[in-house]
Point group: C2
Chain length 333, copies 2
DNA sequence: TCAGAAAAAGTAATCGTTTACACAATTGTC
DNA sequence: GACAATTGTGTAAACGATTACTTTTTCTGA
């Protein structure tokens, strides 16, 4: 592989000149530039990014730290981040924490050691609770999950309102015995729980039940199974993320409960399956593309102006009313 | 940030010694090691991976180059790769080509410039056709899409057999007018087409139709729309990837065709929606976890033994017979 | 006690860039 | 035409690790 020295030699100039040509940093005489360019082309020279990164103490890479890229929400965000980064000539290091604080810390350290320029980060619950003691020495944008006591850029959903709207939608459609299932792995579940409870309270209702469980299909399935086997059953189930929604959906199928006639189902996040099943699932659609893009943009803004004050962008969810929660023929009221 | 020099100073030794302690490379006296360790701990020293990478001319990173991480097939593979890499202390650079050869080349170059140790790569159609002229100077494992004329490690599905089996399944269940929809963006579509045609031929049949289209939901939708609006209609549709399957499914719903009574539907790849819809979709399940893991392992094996001959691992797909292709009450035969 | 082997630690070059500084050549001013 | 200002290039010191090679220390046995 040819290095900048080879180019310099071939063009009969110093490495400094080659470097300046590369960086397009005047002053440089046009004919010198051409000679250098020719040498570069001839040798198929490509600058070594590692060396550049070492010297510059930064690199054109950003880290993306999320719980699991297989979660459709994060898949979509990952893709949006990658796109936005690509446009700026940056590449993306993908890190799945599996909600495991150790893995999370390991990756955070790794990204540091790799000299990444910035991090887009969806912290675990445990991280959030000790966030105060953590010092970000790399520009970081928090997504999806609120972090208290941190002067950091964030892109969040207005979870309380979204959950409120989603719950109210159920209430207005005649559902009364509404069970809630919330993820216990992040602050998000708690916020959505708050919106849920608020909406019920404002309509003079109380939750049929409210449970915090691990945000996995299996947990949703188990929890829903328990609900559906009880003598007293809910007429609607509210879920705080798409894993739980899927679990509940499967349980409803398993126990042959008609959606929405016997039990309505609503949740968060657009998924392919949620659109395709019959009836399709009513959800709060998060603007994933926008979240990813905004986060990346905030990051780049901070990179160019490290001292500006932290900014929090709160985005609105979008209620997609679909068949899984249509208005109820309420026999009792 | 503290460097190895600071540690050396604090421990009263030379940087060489610190480096040796770090690498666990004897000879080192136990008490010296302890002193160094203490200094490391006290200074919170973390080795700079960029410097290390520059010196060692390699890095603990691998690149993953696929068309689109949002394709569930690649999502699953990406996750498996990341897991396998993580276990070896490697991290993964994510690259989406969107089937665009320019983006692909740009990323391949980028990975080179980043000194990645290896690449896991699903090449575009265009790349494959000029593959002979490309020289991989970085260990590379090809996945999903066959590359001719390249001495490279590969992990592939036996596409011809899988498509054969899937087609035969339709035939044995009584379907006769079988239309095929194939992705035109990779060799995979062609191989699956071959299996499709072979199976029909071996049963004395000809394709009702066979079309190569862009592997997107929209294309599948359009193609299926055309098929379903014809006077003469297929009784089954075979799709070569999950994007097309989704498109066909939507079209069938749009035109209110009952699956499988009016038209059966089969395809490739496990997706959540394919499991959840009613009836669920019959598919060839690719062992994504195994593909990703095997590819990563092949890569590490090659890293430790650069001269061994290239190896191709061919995995079998697994036919999941589900409701979308149940046996037909064939009135005509 | 001491030569010589073995073990431990140090010195300094190196990886491929960027960039502060120095220097040379050119231009402009009076 | 002398001197300053400007412009273009070169020199060499970083960046933070690793590692041949060298030097110093410790150990061994007669």
């Amino acid at each position: 592989m040819s290095s900048i020295k080879d180019v310099a030699k071939a063009a009969g100039v110093s490495t400094a000149t080659v470097s300046r040509v590369l960086a397009n940093k005047p002053p440089i005489r046009p004919e010198t530039r051409e000679r250098v360019m020719a040498a570069i082309a001839q040798l198929h020279y490509r600058p070594n990014l590692v060396a550049r990164s070492l010297r510059a103490q930064k690199s054109a890479k950003i880290g993306l730290v999320v719980s699991d890229i297989r979660n459709p929400f994060f898949t979509a965000i990952g893709r949006a981040v990658e796109d936005a980064a690509y446009e700026q000539g940056y590449s993306v290091l993908m890190c799945n924490t599996d909600e495991n604080p150790e893995k999370e810390m390991l990756y955070l350290n790794l990204l540091h050691d790799e000299n990444v320029s910035g991090i887009i980060f969806s912290p675990t619950h445990q991280f959030s609770s000790q966030a105060g003691s953590f010092h970000f020495d790399i520009p970081t944008v928090i997504i999806d999950r609120l972090l208290h006591n941190q002067e950091a850029d964030m892109v969040l959903l207005d979870n309380v309102s979204a959950a409120y709207e989603l719950t109210e939608h159920l209430i207005l459609n005649g559902y009364r015995k509404i069970a809630g299932l919330f993820g216990d792995a992040s602050a998000t579940g708690q916020e959505r729980h708050r919106g849920f409870v608020n909406a019920l309270r404002d309509h003079g209702l109380t939750p049929f039940s409210a449970e915090f469980v691990s945000p996995r299909i299996r947990s949703g399935f188990s929890a829903a199974t328990a609900l559906l086997q009880n003598a007293d059953q809910p007429d609607a189930i509210f879920t705080s993320n798409s894993m739980l929604t899927a679990g509940v959906f499967q349980a409803a199928r398993e126990f042959k409960r008609k959606i929405p006639d016997e039990v309505a189902l609503v949740g968060f996040d657009v998924t392919e399956w949620g659109e395709f099943v019959d009836p399709p699932i009513t959800v709060i659609a998060q603007p994933t593309e926008e979240i990813g893009r905004t986060a990346t943009e905030l990051l780049f803004q901070r990179l160019s102006d490290p001292n500006r004050s932290a900014r929090t962008v709160i985005l609105k969810g979008n209620l997609l009313q679909r068949g899984s929660s249509t208005a109820k023929n309420n026999p009792t009221s």
